[in-house]
Amino acid sequence: MKEIYTSFQEAVKDIEDYSTIMVGGFGLVGIPENLILALVESNAKHLTVISNNCGVDDWGLGLLLQNKQIDKMIGSYVGENKEFERQVINGELEVDLVPQGTLAERIRAGGAGIPAFYTPAGVGTPIAEGKEVRMFDGKEYLLQTGLTADFSLVRAAKGDRLGNLMYNKTARNFNPMMAAAGATTIAEVEELVEPGEMDPEHVHTPGIYVQSLIEGKQEKRIERLTLQTQEK
């Protein structure tokens, strides 16, 4: 059985200054909302954050930015956030931009014990600077290394007490790879169930990757509500 927390503050208490943390989500979808809020409260500083995006000004990882808890951000798209821009321009925040597919694969590699792999993405672009370029079958590829983290904060729709997780729709995104790449993975789940309640065929993240869980209600903010305009 895994550690089951009932307090989000408790769940993030071991995250210290200078930790590297991975945070699941694409935009605001699939982010561990309450773990992020608790991390803001914890006031852990000088964090390196690995996440596809960096939230918006008043939600998600944007809250950690506002509170100046992040030293370095590794992500693929950070354009939804004014405070982000301000901190970068002022030299308060270091940014490492990684193509999204490369980021996803680097995190998968980290969790899978693969130290490095070659990918075509970024060849001939500013991303290639300082990176090894190598030909395979007449085509150029870049060497990219695996990424791991001290802590991974992920969100799932359902989790059982053995750590097995299932995600909902496109809220899956970066969460499964991050669950595997964190030395300690904390899963915020919408519904916590008993072992055996999930079909073993449908588990997205096997419990082996998850160290602790906590149940929490999600706000689930929508960034771009787009509705069908045609009559039914």
């Binding site: 979808v29 995104n173 929508i222």
Partner: protein, 224 residues
């Protein structure tokens, strides 16, 4: 005899022409912005699947209010539905699909394209860098890469160049360029003008294109 259309009409024109690139049975990734509009013009009898790099194979129409699920968005972060026979996957699987060239076609926006098929579409030096998102992977990740964009920039200067000035998204990755004025293919020996839009002449296209253009022997005039 250059034509002057309003911006919305031009965008629709380009999107409608781009739609013709989609063949029956295709798996397609549409970039954010104008490329996403292409979905609005897909012929109803065409069977095709739209892939979204955030982990959805089979984007459906926009949801009615009661159908909205905040956990279901496209790569442009807009709420969507899933089509019948769709599936969800992780970002790693989604880009495995892309990088492994399982997509038949990607239609993306562009700032500049060079005569060797280089593409620049993610950053302007001096302006705030927002990130490349999935673009650098997607340009290597479909059997055919089609760039849709205005033929010239807002100052009237060519966007199809001998060499890109902006930092690249990908080197030698573009197969076809569709603009408001023309359709141009990137071939081994350079750019080939294959179609001209209504109201434009070969001379006008050449003048508004910095790169050398070969005229296709099968050139279609007034094609769209």
């Amino acid at each position: 005899m250059a034509v002057h259309l309003d911006k919305a009409t031009i965008r629709e024109k380009i999107a409608r022409r781009a739609e013709q690139e989609i063949e029956n049975g295709f798996y397609v990734n549409l970039g954010i912005g104008m490329p996403t509009m292409v979905a609005n013009y897909i012929q109803p009898d065409k069977q095709m699947v739209l892939q979204s790099e955030n982990g959805l194979v089979g984007i459906g129409r926009s949801p009615y209010e009661e159908e909205v699920d905040p956990d279901l968005i496209n790569a442009g972060k807009e709420t969507v539905t899933a089509s019948i026979g769709s599936s969800y996957c992780s970002s790693a699987e989604s880009f495995a699909m892309i990088r492994g060239e399982h997509l038949d076609l990607a239609i993306l926006g562009g700032m500049e394209v060079s005569e060797t098929g280089d593409l620049a579409n993610w950053m302007i030096p001096g302006k705030m860098i927002k990130g490349m998102g999935g673009a650098m992977d997607i340009v290597h990740g479909a059997k055919k890469i089609v760039i849709i964009m205005d033929h010239v920039n807002k100052h009237g200067e060519p966007k199809i160049l001998k060499q890109c000035h902006l930092p690249l998204t990908g080197k030698g990755v573009v197969n076809r360029i569709i603009t408001d004025r023309a359709v141009i293919d990137v071939e081994k020996d350079g750019l080939v003008l294959v179609e001209i839009a209504e109201g434009w002449t070969v001379e006008e296209i050449k003048e508004s294109t910095e790169a050398e253009l070969t005229i296709s022997s099968k050139l279609l005039e007034t094609s769209f």
